[in-house]
């Protein structure tokens, strides 16, 4: 009886680990989608509506996907101090504390940091090209993640299930 309970617990444990891993992978993918959404909003508000940058960031602080709200809150705080005349530097400062949350991989983090450059381009032809290029790069990351996500989830689940069975066989 004890062995049976132990086996069940081990199996649940490994399935739980697999499930958690699956959630992390999905969350990462959703993070990329949310990031793209935020950049599209910034692009649209700057280019078409010509909203001042602090107003755009203030809106994102409240209405961006939850995972990004604290980042934009920090960017807004940096802007409103009027200490640094470079919005890119304000973005970078906000990133320093926010990157500890580990939403992105190293490569994605570098690209996220580059997005700050967009804020200094105004809204003319250069801005349009830069924005299109950045969003295209984000799209590539999303597509890659989409392709790999299913495989990774399958592999995680199989590995965890296999590990569970293996542990049960050895220990029980």
């Amino acid at each position: 009886m004890v062995r049976l309970i132990g086996a069940v617990l081990i199996l649940f444990g490994t399935v739980g680990i697999g499930y958690d891993r699956m959630r992390q992978i999905k969350r990462h993918y959703e993070g990329l989608l949310d990031w793209r959404e935020c950049m599209l909003k910034i692009q649209g508000d700057m280019q078409s509506l010509k909203k001042p940058l602090p107003d755009i960031i203030a809106e994102l602080e409240h209405h961006a996907p939850e995972v990004f709200q604290s980042f934009f809150m920090q960017v807004h705080k940096e802007l409103m101090q009027y200490e640094n005349s470079s919005p890119k530097s304000c973005w970078k400062e906000a990133w320093k504390s926010w990157k500890k949350r580990e939403i992105f991989t190293k490569e994605e983090g570098q690209l996220f940091l580059e997005c700050g450059r967009l804020l200094e381009q105004g809204s003319g032809g250069i801005f349009e090209k830069e924005a299109e290029l950045l969003i295209e790069r984000i799209n590539i990351l999303i597509q890659r993640e989409q392709t790999e996500m299913r495989e990774r989830i399958k592999v995680s689940m199989y590995l965890c299930a296999t590990a569970g069975i293996f542990l049960v066989l050895i220990l029980v």
Binding site: K50, P52, D55, L79, Y82, S85, P87
Partner: protein, 315 residues
């Protein structure tokens, strides 16, 4: 109020100016020019910011010289990191800050025919600190307003004496507040954003609770729009000058509205020589002329004339 002005300065300059906060309260203008000393003007004297001590001084030697990076930073802060959002204001040569302070901007202009296409490089800024003088029109109010109506009034003076300030306070008093027994609906055409000093469409100056403002609109167009849509009792405009302005004023008068306006002239004699005004002066359209002068000590004096050019009051 000064915080809104100081906010647009680079951090280093801001600290130095903050140390002179008391003197800044009296400052009317701050002049910023690339590679020139920063100059503060209080209406009587010029002051310079000493580079070493950070104090204001009447001596230009050893004062803080404005760098290109200072102007660049100021433009960034002035436009809230968003020069693209203020292109039209920059083309018209000024921006209005919260608090009603105006920043004039000039430099290298790119023209397309007769139109200003872009302000390409900025070389100078002129920060005019708003000092709304609440109550300055109290003495003249009984002469320009009755219980039933507002008299057609022209405020007359040379440049920089204060006719816009007087007009602004007159609008406030005529529009009234929550407790005013006598009050009228006032429409303001603020072509140069000097009367209401709107920032994001919100008047930064107190113009009373019954005042509607059309901002940055040509006077003639604005007056017609107000007549059509806001049913004003009084229309107020600043710096009447062109034939088009006077034609629009004619329409306003024919609609039964009163007019409060300002016009540039040193005295009644100079006023009477203005060709565009001849018709009105002959027909005595304006019932009151408020002439402002400044004496050698900087004090302002009023003289009020009626429609027949008789002086009816002087302070």
């Amino acid at each position: 109020m000064l915080e809104q002005v100081l906010q647009i300065f680079p951090a280093e300059l801001r600290k130095m100016l903050l140390a002179n906060k008391d003197k800044l309260k009296e400052t009317e203008e701050i002049r910023i020019r690339i590679n020139q000393p920063m100059i503060l003007w209080d209406g009587r004297k010029e002051y310079f910011l000493d580079k070493l001590s950070g104090r204001l001084s009447v001596e230009a030697e050893g004062s803080y010289y404005i760098k290109e990076s200072d102007i660049s930073a100021m433009l960034t802060f002035l436009s809230r990191y968003s020069i693209y959002a203020y292109e039209e204001e920059l083309k018209s040569g000024f921006l209005t800050l919260e608090g009603g302070h105006r920043v004039g901007v000039t430099g290298q202009i790119r023209m397309e025919g007769e139109k200003v296409e872009q302000l390409a490089y900025v070389g100078s800024l002129n920060i005019r600190i708003a000092h709304q003088k609440i109550g300055c029109a109290k003495e003249i109010l009984p002469f320009i307003r009755t219980e039933q109506s507002v008299r057609n009034t022209l405020f007359v003076s040379s440049v920089g004496i204060g006719k816009t300030t007087l007009l602004r306070d007159s609008i406030r008093l005529i529009s009234g507040d929550e407790t005013s027994r006598i009050h009228f609906k006032v429409g303001v055409v603020d072509e140069r954003s000097e009367i209401a000093a709107c920032c994001h469409g919100i008047p930064q100056n107190n113009l009373g609770i019954r005042t509607d403002v059309i901002d940055r609109c040509k006077k003639a167009v604005g007056m017609r729009m107000l007549l059509r849509s806001m049913s004003p009792d009084v229309i107020a405009v600043d710096e009447l000058g062109s034939m088009e302005d006077f034609q629009a004023v004619d329409e306003v008068l024919h609609c039964g509205c009163s007019i409060l306006g300002t016009i540039h002239a040193a005295d009644m004699l100079e006023l009477q020589q203005k060709e565009q005004l001849q018709k009105w002066l002959e027909q005595k359209i304006f019932e009151r002329y408020v002439i402002l002068k400044k004496d050698d000590e900087g004090r302002r004096h009023f003289m009020i004339y009626d429609g027949t050019w008789e002086k009816i009051w002087s302070d």
